[in-house]
Amino acid sequence: MIVDLSRPLTRIEAAAYGTVGVLLFLGIWSLLSLSGAAPREFLPTPYQVATRFGQLLSTQFAGATLPQHLVSSIMRFAYGFLLGAAVGIPLGLLMGWFRVLDEIVSPVFDAFRFIAPIAWVPFAALWFGTGIGGPILIIFAGAFPPCLINSYRGARFVSRPLIEAAQMLGTRNLHIILEVLLPASTASIVAGLRVSAGLGWQSLIGAELIVASTGVGFMMVQAQLNIATATVMSAMVAVGIVGFLIDAGLRWIEAAVRRRGFA
């Protein structure tokens, strides 16, 4: 047997291996904690984290319950993400169609793209204080570039005959963009949105770690200062779940777009 690529595992085998894997993971974790190899206050058992997670659903920590913190984070995320998409997608399409715009924006964009979104935190704090503008700026910095890049690429790779046919029929620029470029690049745009959402969500958590007075990131920092490891881990789980749900939603849209045959 060099590589057992030929025979996929049966469902039962895969499920069995998967269960063993998860149990091993939880078992080693519990063992480390229970045996005292790692101090309990720094490594609570999985059971403790689960209990704490349950408690946080209704008890307050750092001024709000876990769901309340999550809601304020998600609202910020929604604003920043929608702003990134609302600016990035049209600009990308326009750059894909008008060459001058591409030539003007590209060098500026390339310079900004390499600034890590989180590096905007000091300016965000300086310009907006702890108001909502700061987090939105940072999410925007994370979410905007993939939106622009993907709609630009989508627009550039539309097949020439399609565009030429439209031009031959006397279609105006605006209509070409809306009725030829946009539908043809939908798949690419939605793929970009998924990347955007992931980067935006993660940038927001980072921003909340540094400047915020609500939100899951803020809650994590407070828990860290109080050496409440179970609370930190509960918040991490919550962040993971929300990130997963956002991605699942966009994946669903991606599949729906593909079914309708825009791609």
Partner: protein, 258 residues
């Protein structure tokens, strides 16, 4: 000179001129909100020659680069082999993948508080966070790299009785290499972002520390310098890796831009 270059250069020069005009003679934006070119130049000289936030610019940059390179190599050194193993053996995949799927949605930056709890604000915490950030793309892409090898290539190697170690060295790794490099590029970018974030949250040296102190001092010129350094080093590392990729995989047409 191409048209693209001329238009681009004109844009940059225009922007620079607008920046200068808005800040200096017109004074439309308060210097407390955004630095003027003079402020930036002053901040640069200060951090480069007299020092800021416990060190000179090159010391901060070296600290950040050292950590990112170390963390990246640790992550790639564990992630790529694990991805190859999961691609090679369906049993390993079935065993590890569910755990991986559980941990993966947690964004790397969310590990920062836990890393500080466990390891403090020293180098070890940074390496841990970078590891979490860079590990995932390395594993996924190496795994996909192996799984997308054409079956006939594997069958041919098998039919010729290729010994296992030669199969790994001469078929598996070269065939998976393009995707491994894609993973490494993503890993490197994630490492850099995460390190800057971790240094912003808590550190004694590093470019993130410069940003953090500048934020507390309300010092726009220094914030600007910090951001510019983050961008320039991020860009330079990506270029370097693209160069390595081009040397290591000359048979791949380098169609993709960095």
């Amino acid at each position: 000179m191409s048209r693209r270059f001329v238009v681009g250069l004109t844009t940059i020069i225009t922007l620079g001129a607008v920046w200068y005009l808005v800040m200096m003679p017109l004074g439309l934006v308060s210097p407390g909100r955004f630095p003027s070119p003079d402020d930036v130049w002053f901040s640069f000289r200060q951090v480069a020659f007299t020092g800021y936030a416990n060190g000179l610019l090159y010391q901060h940059a070296l600290q950040s680069l050292r950590l990112v390179v170390f963390g990246f190599f640790v992550a790639a050194g564990t992630g790529v082999p694990l991805g190859l193993l999961m691609g090679w053996s369906r049993r390993a995949e079935a065993l590890i993948n569910p755990v991986f799927l559980l941990i993966r949605p947690i964004p790397p930056l969310a590990w920062i508080p836990l890393a500080i709890l466990w390891l403090g604000i020293g180098d070890a915490a940074k390496v841990m966070v970078i590891w979490f950030a860079a590990f995932v793309p390395s594993v996924i892409n190496s795994f996909t790299g192996v799984r997308t090898i054409e079956p006939y290539v594997i069958e041919a190697a098998r039919m010729l009785g290729t010994p296992r170690y030669r199969f790994v060295a001469e078929v598996l790794i070269p065939a998976a290499a393009p995707l491994i490099f894609t993973g490494l590029r993503l890993s490197l970018q994630a490492s850099w972002t995460t390190l800057v974030a971790a240094e912003l949250v808590g550190a004694l040296y590093g470019l993130g520390r410069v940003l953090n102190v500048a934020q507390q001092d309300i010092y726009p010129g220094m914030i600007f310098i910090g951001m510019a350094c983050v961008a320039i080093f991020g860009w330079a590392m990506t270029r370097l890796l693209a160069e390595v990729e081009a040397r290591a995989l000359p048979w791949i047409q380098m169609a993709r831009a960095s």
